[in-house]
């Protein structure tokens, strides 16, 4: 085993994908810890699933790591205060996607006093572990925000592989790269815990090959880990093309298993975890401090000092940008996440959510997109689609509102990665039309259900 085998590991073939610009300007920037802001806004829905209900009252004193919102639902995760201070207000805010959710506004006293409930969890087996992961408030840190305990609860007999997603295929973002470089031992110890407690013996860490230092650092810790346990942990360099970090894509690239339409990685025996999530598990098991801060990349030509920052969750974007030197020029677009799948924000009042991994303030030049023109049927969109879809055909069915045709041609497989629109010479708003198509199908399904 050892070196040679690892280098011989090659990713399996993926269709499509695009060569997006990397723009990893901040890859060499050591993470800086941001001091607590004057106030934070803890949103009750920072995950996929049921939103939490506030468990604190206005005027109440709270401490770092104290639960401020929770839910009874299984697919949900509690939220914690990221500072110590007083609850100022409980209000309803509008999320960038238009939905309205409750949020707790906490005024910080600047002391960052930890809550007394914060102590390392006692773990005796799988059930304890899953419960601990839930109470840590951990959600998928890669962007989707799926509660991690739900993922880990997958049928034990079915799952044989843990895939650590460190592909980081979105341009600009380097937070996972920094995680690998600054916290490789944390990553491996988190991996070990998951392996032991869930009885998994194969782990593949997928990293795009534009991060050779991260690959080297992870490979080193993997070898050490393989020496002292029976497991098989390896680093798999992936092609530096977008979107190798998408869940279905990374599972195929690492294991050659195809997740069928509407199924989950667990159905093909895989659990996919983001590298930051697995590193967080290790720190949680040691300290018991729930998810109250996270490492994000702040970049874009409109930001004065692009860098990686460890920020308390709930910090307003304006404060984060100010910490990074403020705006250098008027930003044209403000994004939560990367430029391929990120969400454009109306202003910088939004608080940081658990699953965000970057804030980009794009300048006019960076954000420039041309006017859409007529589709010339060049087929570029179809040839780059990792999901094998033919967008012009689907767009035709969207126009006709033909849900049968949409379903038949796989509209629900679309993961909105944006490769198609990226490649389109006519600048067609393809992803938008895909979303519309999915809505049509969902609405039609609802009607039929009644």
């Amino acid at each position: 085993m050892g070196d040679k085998l690892k280098l011989a590991l090659k990713p399996f073939r993926i269709r499509g994908t695009v060569k997006a610009p990397h723009r990893k300007h901040t890859a060499g920037c050591e993470s800086v810890i941001m001091p607590p802001p004057d106030e934070v806004l803890i949103c009750m829905s920072q995950h996929i699933g049921a939103p939490c209900k506030p468990t604190v009252k206005v005027g109440q004193q709270v401490f770092v790591g104290q639960i401020v919102g929770d839910s009874e639902a299984f697919v949900s995760a509690p939220v914690h205060s990221s500072v110590s201070g007083k609850v100022k207000k409980i209000e309803t805010i509008t999320m960038p996607n238009g939905s309205r959710v409750e949020a707790v506004r906490i005024e910080s006293d600047g002391l960052m006093t930890p809550d007394e409930s914060v102590r390392p969890p006692e773990i005796n087996g799988r059930e304890d572990f899953l419960r601990a992961v839930r109470s840590s408030g951990l959600v998928g840190l890669g962007g989707a925000g799926f509660p991690v305990h739900v993922k880990l609860s997958a049928d034990k007999d079915k799952v044989d592989t843990l895939i650590i997603n460190a592909a980081e295929c979105e341009p600009y973002i380097t937070a996972d790269n920094r995680e690998a470089l600054e916290n490789s031992w944390g990553v491996i110890s988190g991996i070990k815990s998951v392996m032991e407690l869930l009885d998994i013996d194969r782990v593949i860490i997928g990293v795009e090959d534009n991060k050779p230092e991260a690959i080297r650092a992870l490979d080193e810790v993997c070898q050490a880990a393989n020496r002292d346990m029976k497991g098989n942990v390896s680093v798999l360099p992936l092609k530096a093309r977008y979107p190798y970090g998408a869940e279905k894509v990374i599972v195929k690239a690492c294991t050659n298993r195809v997740i069928l339409e509407g199924k989950l990685p667990a159905d093909v025996g895989c659990i996919v975890m983001n590298i930051a999530s697995v590193a967080f598990i290790s720190s949680y098991l040691k300290t018991g401090m729930p998810l109250v801060s996270k490492r994000i990349t702040v970049d874009g030509a409109a930001v004065a000092n692009p860098q990686n920052v460890i920020v308390p969750i709930g910090t307003k974007i304006r404060d984060i940008i100010e910490f990074c030197g403020g705006y250098k020029e008027q930003p044209e677009k403000l994004l939560f996440g990367g430029p391929m799948m990120g969400l454009a924000l109306p202003d910088d009042e939004m608080p940081l959510l658990k699953q965000n991994n970057a804030i980009l303030a794009l300048s006019k030049k960076e954000a420039k997109r041309l006017e859409p023109s007529d589709c010339i049927r060049c087929g570029r969109c179809a040839s780059v689609c990792p999901m094998g879809l033919t967008p012009p055909t689907l767009a035709g069915y969207v126009k006709l509102k033909d849900t049968h045709g949409l379903l038949k041609n796989g509209i629900m497989v679309c993961m909105e990665c944006g490769c198609c629109a990226f490649a389109c010479p006519a600048n067609r708003p393809i992803v938008q039309s895909m979303r519309l198509g999915k809505e049509l199908v969902k609405n039609a399904g609802k009607k039929e259900g009644k």
Binding site: E261, L343, R380, P429
Partner: protein
Amino acid sequence: MENILTMSPSPHLSSGATTRRIMLDVIISLVPASVAAVVFFGWKSLMLIGVCILSCVVLEYICRKVMKRKNTTGDLSAVVTGLLLALNLPPGLNPLMAVFGCIVAIVVVKQMFGGIGNNFVNPAITARIVLLVSFPVPMTTWEKPFEWLNTADSVTGATPLALVAQGESTSYLDLFLGNRGGCIGETCVLALLLGGIYLVARRVISPIIPLSFIGTVFVLSFLLGGDPVFHIMSGGVMLGAIFMATDYTTSPMNPLGKLIFGIGCGVITVLIRLYANLPEGVSYSIILMNILTPHIENLTRPRPFGKERKHEKA
């Protein structure tokens, strides 16, 4: 910060590819063939090229104006259509007839069906066929290359395909360099290949259609007792396979569809050449396959990732 942020759906990046750039690449790739046209057939061919391009652009502009749609001449697709049509004409053609061809290509075939991307047959090829049917004699009056240097009056020649019918042959070298009679842009194989290599290298076209088209002509003409090298280098096979059959709008998008399309073009070309009462079949073969394109596309559309076969019928 003032609240003037742009809100738009993802993705927020683009590859920078534009329709205009693609069309510009096609024009660049046709420069060698256009130069060869002028070298072999003189200033008349330059005039034909100019007339066709100009009328296509003007016609497109007028059409869009009349139809009250956005002006699209900036995408250069009308220039490409004009250039391709010119290269598909015999050197001595009356420019007025060429203008008529442009009307067919731009007004009837392209704009009446909704403009770029919506026509179901290739505009330039359709125009050529309409001209061929409307003006059979001028459209088949060929000239010997370099005649323009010697005499003021053009001396008619014959195409290699017609010569073969008379039992005469043309050397491979002459065919390759284009020293033979024919449409102004189709003769110089060398120039056309250069253009094709440029297009493939720039990823404007996939090599599947040209290779399968030319390959099929080669193999099938050999099997049916013809001279394969002669068949692929004569007539409009190179021009058709590289530049006309690869038109985005009228050929299938996915690789398997392209392969079937190319083979289909090749088979029909050879069958027409060898068995029909026509010397040349490239234009007809392409237009026939154009019409079949939507069906080929439906049959060969790739299966989406993780979609089960049984689901397809549901």
